[in-house]
Symmetry: C2
Subunit: 697 residues, 2 copies
């Protein structure tokens, strides 16, 4: 895939320059220096040769098929460069030139025209406004970054060209090779998903690392990222997470959702390994690219230093992995090979004077322990230590069946050992905490790979009925759907809504109450009143007709005083439901990732404690159950303080029904069922109140 | 302080050896190699000279006053070595030898004897089981670690000798100097607090870094650490935090408290900068030792790379600091010196082609902005970048009035720049997140230094009455103090407890109720029944005598069936209080740090959400208010969802009263007031239920 871009047989540099310091010189010179074996065609009408290569007036003049054209001419000359590329049969174009969408509206227009032209002529376009790309498999440095990494198994996608330079320099300093490095620029044509797909199919790439500030399409991103994650780990640092700046939202769900939560939900769905900072991006990627995945989360620690062993143990516990003591036979076997002062618990302390063979012995034996899934090996350079030989011993003892991560702490004395580790594909970290965090990323990815199959249940529903209600609503021009219609919609989607009807007079209210049976609940219905109870617009547990009449009259009186301009539709008289635990179920349509479902315990748990969980639709049963488990108040649902638990499955079903509803009807922008009342197992849950917001379109 | 240990005029090595590889050789050789100018006395009865120094049979034989004796002989010979040291007038002894407390009970005994001997002969003892110590001010490497750091302003205390070697190697690799490095070993005599005091008075030491696994005395630690923190920053990594392993606790407060929470509370009180991992220990220490403290938390970011600028901005927001845009004049001034494509918001993007002078210009101008308290300067090595000259420009532009932290990202291309930064006392970090985290540590320490004065209010109380109740209780031999007596105690400490009395018959109950007035509450009183309501042992809101009689009879009946063996003391008849918000106030006596107060909203907020906060006693008013603010449910107290807030000051006072009570009576091991009922401002709070546990002693 994208062979014309990644593995071209011939590359033209349109705007090649003879002046060192110019980008058009840097790219040409980098291509030559990196040892690219294909044909290199400098294009510049003003000169005859650059760097000993014949220079052409346009690409066609070279009279060969040029797969990739790199464009570095100023913005006004870009279109002409593209025409020259198209004429030479180019399959791909990389526009390095800046001055497009990132500058102003005119630039954005220009960029659109360029993308359109490329699409028309079937040239894939990388950029504009990018650093270029590097492929170590064919020795091609088609970027203006001077450093050419050595071949490796990590590929990098970056939305920041400047970050690429830091990554290349890190790669050189650390001795970690790269497969491909691609600066994606403004993404006028090729987006992160196109490139992710290409890297997923690339044989050299074992792990993909991406730095992203935005994504082009949420649903496509999730689909592709999940596809990619099934074949190889995808580690992403998403920057710009906190400055999300919540837009004013009118539902509870909307006010609690945010871009960062949506990215988190999308990454979780797609199996993306999320990195929260620059260092962990490569900490995780090196571990994932160098070592096999762990089968479980039981970690053994081998150390020649007590303190760092404790730090590692702290980190293992904090990150939710397990420190298990070795099986007694193995413990005894190791112990019999160690001095009496050593300790074989977990951590295994091989003592400060441990020679390489002692490390090798302990590592070999503990790797054979069926109770151990992964090993972290720690060394501090003490008087008797031989870091280099110890590194070699550790490398030799690693069988490749279980992950081994090293943590050699210090500076100058362990430089060589660190280089040996990198060369032998053993990841090495400067602190115990970073080694353990990398291991946790491996454990999480492995557990995602082994997740149960995603089966989305479809409930039998009355879709036509909802279509009718929504088109009736659309004619009113109001985006808010009030309680009465929201409940009609939910009833059509198999929710349990108590019998009730809108009363327009007190006699009407009594007649309805008599028919549905006492006790009843009465609620004011007005499109202008969102918080009914603040206006005295809710009365519960009315048990006879006189109470219904009083409630009706009082409500109308109060509203006419407190909100004289509110349009009144009447009063909803509804059968009083059984009591139970109040929860809130909601949906917020994220602009990027679409419908995001929310679950939380009602009232203060949502408003004050913000104890809610989100998941992207469509939702499976096990994901719905996870939503419940992921709240801090989960213990209350299960039953705490002597109270019986509620029926978790009916909440899970309700979340799945909402998932189906909002997938069927994309015009529903936000919704809250608040409260949704659930009782013990065997009881029917009830939608006590609900609201929806339709999108403007 | 501790001059004999830190700055001796003569040092003896008792157990000096001629065999390279032996500790007794390493120490002697290190002392010589490091350039120690004082007299060095090797002691070994079997040889005449070592490393060209005359060797002595015992210390006295040298016929000079030897301030420090380093002991490396095997454990059985240690006492004789000490006798020889004492005879020579030694002020201090460092015992490197291991095989004491850390091995077994006999070793612990031996260690005690040794410590006693030293105390008797007025010799301060470092160790045993330690690496020794290093003082760069007098070129003294009195340790068996081969590396001698260059002089610097950070001093290190470490309870792990092995970690010292990693720190020394890091120091060499990074070029960061150290003032003193002290391996504290088993702390038989000199503890962390003794050494902290000495380092606080040491002129070379600007920042103290400590790695601790335990502390010798909690109250002393807090007192000394606070004293030290007032003079210089103290950065501590406390390892072994998660494996705290809660002992079974019988109060709510006890079950929620833990060693890690206690350490957190102690560090907070004492102004300790807490580090959660090895890297941040020195990240924080270098920032604190190299740069002035910020006056506030408004951070400006200068960068030549968009992506890393966003990462830094994310980190600033996540850590609760502020990114403020520069004042318009300064923004315009900077802008007029930058290309049009640059952006002067925050981050200030000086663009990928920024030369050193552009950095210098932006930094100088932004440092002059009164809205900026600190600056983070980021560079990625791009084609036009000159990292070395840029580092020099940044160093020159730093005025020393506001902290400037650098983040040069990459590897090989920025090595020289990093070395320049270290040499010029500008801290430099490999990732934006680490730079920002170090700045946050500075902000927190500065804010602790500026905290309001700690004034502990003393409330007028009836201390004698509590003494009488407690001594009566002591005679029963039961550690649990039930509701009746706990309330008596609290009443004596100025708490509002509703009138009530213990009834022993139903007639008795009615008489009491008639006297105190209806409605009343009735509660079973039995030392064997902890959870009264589970036994049907609580009845609320009884409004007439017939209800009181029924309640009494029913309670006795139920208890006799459900808990026939429970010893019954009667039924407490109490005036029914006004309703209000239920909160829980508690105290747990931490074995290290003494009384720790707890606050939380009642019921599920404590049991399920674990939404509580802790603070060490004695407590000031502002600390008590902070305890309320530090719970997630604080908004509920202030008044949320249209409900009125409660009187925060009465809760704060109650916490202070508990603080006074548990300080006055150390035999109170744990207590809960649960619930404590608070109403709106102006209403009186009520102790609705309370329990205490006395210590075994």
């Amino acid at each position: 895939m994208l062979d014309g871009l990644l593995c071209p047989n011939a590359v033209a540099v349109i705007g090649a320059s003879r002046s060192p310091g110019k980008v058009g010189y840097a790219i040409l010179s980098n291509l030559i220096k990196s040892g690219y074996a294909g044909k290199i065609i400098p294009v510049n009408p003003k000169v005859n040769s650059i760097l000993n290569l014949p220079c052409y007036k346009n690409v066609s003049e070279a009279k060969i098929k040029v797969d990739l054209c790199i464009v570095v001419v100023p913005p006004p000359a870009v279109m002409k460069a593209l025409e020259s590329a198209a004429a030479a049969g180019a399959e791909a174009v990389t526009i390095i030139t800046a001055g497009f969408k990132e500058v102003d509206a005119a630039g954005a227009d220009h960029e659109k025209k360029i993308a359109l032209y490329c699409r028309k002529h079937r040239m894939r376009l990388l950029g504009p406004n990018c650093l270029g790309l590097i492929n170590t498999a064919n020795n091609m440095n088609a970027s203006f970054a001077a450093q050419m990494p050595k071949p490796g198994s990590i590929s990098v996608l970056s939305q920041s060209g400047a970050l690429c330079t830091a990554i290349l320099d890190w790669s050189e300093g650390r001795g970690v090779g790269l497969a491909k490095l691609i600066s994606i620029g403004n993404k006028a044509d090729l987006s992160e998903t196109d490139l992710l797909q290409a890297l997923a199919q690339d044989d050299q790439t074992k792990v993909i690392v991406a730095y992203l500030e935005s994504i082009s399409s949420g649903p496509e991103f999730i689909r592709i990222a999940e596809e990619v994650s099934l074949t190889k780990p995808l580690v992403i640092l998403k920057a710009g997470t906190t400055a999300a700046g919540g837009k004013a939202a009118s539902s509870h769900t909307g006010s609690l959702a945010g871009a960062d939560i949506a990215y988190g939900a999308a990454f979780k769905r797609a199996g993306v390994v999320r990195s929260e900072n620059f260092e962990s991006l490569f900490d995780f990627a090196t571990a994932l690219s160098m070592q096999p995945l762990p089968k479980g989360k039981r970690v053994a620690i081998i150390t020649n230093a007590g303190g760092p062993g404790i730090m590692a143990a702290d980190a293992v516990e904090t990150l939710g992995m397990e420190l298990e003591a070795p099986t007694p036979e193995i413990a005894q076997d190791i112990m019999s090979n160690l001095p009496a002062a050593a300790s074989v618990g977990n951590p295994i302390d091989v003592l400060g004077d441990a020679a390489p063979d002692r490390y090798a012995m302990a590592l070999e034996k503990i790797l054979a322990d069926p109770k151990v899934d992964a090993v972290v090996v720690i060394l501090t350079p003490q008087a008797m230590s031989d870091p280099d030989a110890t590194a070699e011993a550790i490398i030799k003892a690693s069988t490749g069946e279980k992950p081994v991560l090293a943590c050699f702490m210090g500076g100058s004395q362990i430089i060589n050992a660190r280089a040996k580790f990198v060369a032998a594909n053993v990841p090495d970290y400067p602190s115990p905490e970073r080694a353990v965090a990398a291991l946790k990323a491996m454990v999480d990815y492995a557990s995602w790979l082994n997740r149960p199959p995603r089966i989305v249940t479809r409930f039998p529903v009355n879709r036509h009925r909802v279509e009718r209600i929504l088109s009736r609503q659309a004619r009113t021009g109001r985006p808010e759907i009030g309680e009465v219609e929201a409940k009609e919609i939910l009833r059509a989607y198999d929710f349990n809504v108590l019998p009730g009807q809108l009363a327009r007079s007190s006699d009407d209210a009594i007649a309805i109450a008599d028919r549905i049976g006492y006790p009843v609940v009465m609620k004011i219905v007005s499109p202008d009143i969102l918080h009914k109870s603040e206006f005295g617009g809710v009365k519960l547990n009315l048990s006879k007709s006189s109470e219904v009449r009083d409630a009706y009259d009082l409500m109308i009186l109060r509203i006419s005083r407190k909100a004289p301009s509110a349009k009144l539709r009447g009063v909803l008289v509804e059968k009083m439901g059984a009591s139970g635990r109040e929860v809130i179920l909601g949906m917020h349509r994220d602009p990027q990732f679409g419908p995001m479902l929310m679950f939380g315990l009602g009232g203060i748990f949502v408003e004050v404690m913000k104890d809610v969980s989100f998941y992207l639709a469509p939702l499976t049963h096990s994901e719905a159950i996870q939503m419940l488990e992921n709240t801090r108040s989960y213990a209350l649902l299960r039953g705490a303080r002597g109270e019986a638990g509620v029926d978790l499955n009916v909440i899970a079903s309700a979340l799945q029904q909402i998932s189906q509803l909002v997938t069927d009807f994309p015009q529903i922008e936000e919704m809250d069922i608040n409260p949704f009342i659930v009782g013990e197992i065997g009881t029917q849950p009830v939608v006590a109140d609900a609201r929806m917001i339709l999108s403007g379109e």
